[in-house]
Amino acid sequence: MRYVKPESFEAAATLLRDETGISRILAGGTDVLVQLKAEMVEPDLMVDLKHLPGMREIVAEDGGFRIGAAVSGAQLGEHDAVKAMWPGVVEGVELIGSSQVQSRATMAGNLCTGSPAGDAVPAMVTAEAVARVQGPDGVRDVPVIDIPTGPGKNSLNKGEFITSIYLPARPAHAGDCYLRFIPRTEMDIAVSSAAVSLTLDEEGTVTDARIAIGAVAPTVRLVKDAGAALVGAKPDDAAIAAMVRAVEAACSPITDKRGTIEFRTKTAGVLAKRAALIAYGRAGGQL
């Protein structure tokens, strides 16, 4: 394996495009090094990008924040302004792994690794976050939801990689929340998860709702029907019940060592309900 620290994003893209063997990008390393240890992959080329400009920075931009692809969970969690604006996104990122893993794991890595159970992804989806992608032919912006395409797969082309993720400005009276279910209290992969982002009007009526669920389908899923079920009212029992039905209908999980189809489906609904009520409170709503 060759280990390379390219001098620029462009050089990195070219290097990755021209590599004939297996290449991996090293951000936090919390997935790729595990794969190396398990002999699941033996890359010929490991490209470390953490030193490149902006990769470890969080900068305010157009009312939102641009978060470098190598910003760790711990670093993000220490940023009060991002946390205040998108608490659900930050709590999702902060749930990845242990304190040790938090020092390294990144939201971009969590996205690119393509796990349907990635804790950072659902709330990024409901926040309508956008990934900035560098490729051999230049830069493009891609909505986060379009990056993962299936377990372990993403839509990036050869030579492409994420340099930052943009969290847009949040309207007034808005709030988000991410919850996951794990068997223990820490150190597990999500068995099911849900993120909810709500915008309210002055009276507390929901005007916009986005709900995403994780670990219940090949990719994180944005459930439009579930969001629609909350719009136009306060999240009372009837609205919540309709939303939960929509969430459950959108689940197409598998039974495996971590959970059953029934369990994943049921808990995804429960988590969406609980996350919606928390997000509603964060948005200033009162039931």
């Binding site: 280990y3 390393g29 090094l33 595990v34 240890k37 792994g97 242990s98 304190s99 020092s103 390294r104």
Partner: protein, 158 residues
């Protein structure tokens, strides 16, 4: 595969070593530098026994490549005591019997020190969640949590 020269600082000492590109920091510490205080319990970041500090952050050294530490500051359990004076956490762990077999102890001490530097007055729940990535199979964690709190109180008073 050729080895790569790396210059780093470990426990305050400038250290140079050669390693392969795919070698973990844990392997470098243990096999190349003789610093065997960090333990390999899993090699996949699930147990925390290999915890070290890298540039002021707590990491699993099994999830860091040796080559990534070029120019970095690394602190390991071997650097925790100053000469023959134990760090308060080390001393309290002994006094309060917060270890049985001791294999997880170096990682837990490094992690607990990192916590107290960030949060000198944590709640029990905060200590428990911070240390959730450090598995201990002997103690049931009870005496570990108590010892961290005793040391924290002492360090706040000092």
């Amino acid at each position: 595969m050729k080895t790569i020269p790396v210059a780093t600082t470990i426990n305050g000492d400038e250290t140079e070593f050669l390693c392969h590109a795919d070698e973990s920091l844990l392997d470098v510490l243990r096999d190349r530098l003789g610093l065997t205080g960090a333990k390999e319990g899993c090699g996949t970041g699930d147990c925390g026994a290999c915890s070290v500090m890298m540039n002021g952050r707590l990491v699993c050294s099994c999830l860091v490549l040796g080559v990534e530490t070029e120019g970095a500051e690394i602190e390991t359990i071997e650097g925790m005591a100053k000469g023959d004076t134990l760090h308060p956490l080390q001393r309290v762990f002994l006094e309060e019997a917060a270890l049985q077999c001791g294999i997880c102890t170096p990682g837990i001490l490094v992690a607990a020190k990192a916590l107290l530097e960030k949060n000198p007055d944590p709640t029990d729940t905060e200590v428990r969640y911070w240390l959730a990535g450090n598995l201990c199979r002997c103690t049931g964690y009870d005496k570990i949590i108590k010892a961290v709190q005793t040391a924290a109180a002492e360090m706040r008073g000092a």
